[in-house]
């Protein structure tokens, strides 16, 4: 079967993905340690900007980055697990697609809840003053407990990537180079691209207002 290399992930999707890894690592390291609470706060704002920008990019970005490209009915997940190899998926398989949305949702909820936290020592999130103490308490508890769900989601993600790698399906390389080898028959459907620079521009705008209002 002849193959051809197409451009799949634009620069923003790739930059976003690896920045997310770095920022997440930083948040994990600084979280729950009173000595690094201010750094945790700042990194959380970066996380918020990253996730918001990725969601925007999921509507107006390159074709492969759009939610409409890879989201299917939840029933597609069952069909996928019954016959995982029936279809070739250019972007995400149905289960992976839901994983993307769940991951973005968890990270967004984590970043937003963090803005309302009170550590009962000296840190108060920038939005804690606008809600009742009960709400602050509930969101602080959520912020601590939901972290485990994020770790589980990441673990599942890594396991899935490992399985794909064992099955000789390349996932990691396209997320680095942006290029993916596909059957030449699929070239007619090569996805429309938008320059990743636009994504980074939106990211900078988001960083600007988020840091202005919430640092």
């Amino acid at each position: 079967m002849s193959t051809v290399t197409i451009h799949l992930w634009d620069g923003f999707v790739r930059g976003f993905h690896w920045l997310l890894v770095l920022v997440f690592a930083g948040l994990w390291y600084t979280g729950g340690n009173i000595d690094y609470i201010d750094q945790h706060h700042q990194l959380g704002l970066v996380m918020l900007a990253l996730v918001l920008t990725r969601i925007i990019w999921g509507f107006i970005g390159s074709q492969p980055a759009r939610f409409t490209t890879f989201m299917q009915s939840p029933f597609a997940i069952f069909r996928y697990f019954r016959r995982p190899t029936q279809h070739e998926y250019l972007t995400h398989n149905p289960a992976g697609a839901y994983m993307v949305v769940i991951m973005l949702g968890l990270l967004l909820a984590q970043a937003i809840s963090g803005l309302f936290t009170d550590d009962a020592i000296f840190f108060r999130g920038p939005l804690a003053q606008y809600v009742s103490n009960d709400t602050v308490r509930a969101l602080t508890r959520y912020h601590k407990q939901a972290f485990d769900f994020i770790l589980i989601a990441i673990a599942l993600h890594l396991v899935a990537v490992a399985i794909y790698t064992i099955l000789k399906k390349k996932l990691i390389k396209p997320m680095i180079t942006g290029k993916k080898e596909v059957a030449s028959a699929a070239v007619a459907n090569a996805p429309a691209q938008r320059h990743g620079g636009w994504g980074f521009l939106i990211l900078v705008v988001n960083l600007a207002w988020i840091f202005y209002f919430l640092s």
Binding site: I34, D35, D38, A120, I121, F122, F123, R124, T140, R141, K144, Q145
Partner: protein
Amino acid sequence: MRLITTLTAAALTIGLATFAAPALSSAFTKAEDAVEYRQGAFKLIRENFGYMSGMVRGEIDFDADQFKQRSKALVHLSNIPFDAFTGAGENATNNSDALPAIWQNWSDFESKRDAFQSAAVELAEAAESGNIRDIRPKFMATARTCQQCHEGYRAD
């Protein structure tokens, strides 16, 4: 006669002391009051400490006199809540974030209390210097004693 008076007085004193002893171990007769008392104290500690953190973390301008006053207040406040964990406050966890682990590991809880109280004293001593560079490490050391005790003894 004199002997009898003395003996009676002594007996009364001992009797009263014995009777009064349980009440003296804690000022509280109701768990609810003990919980409110220690929560009130911790609230004052939290707000006081939060105010100082504003100066330490550069959110508000450093004012050496203000900081000195606040750090002295903290030394006093740090002694207040812990009596309310004994007596009627013992095992009082209703409407409270205090975890039962406190009374299961009482000596550890006491040593964490002591760590907090001596850190507060050291912070107040550093505040006398009026130098934020001396204050900062002592402030963070105090904050760590808060966290070390909340970890395991305070509900999320």
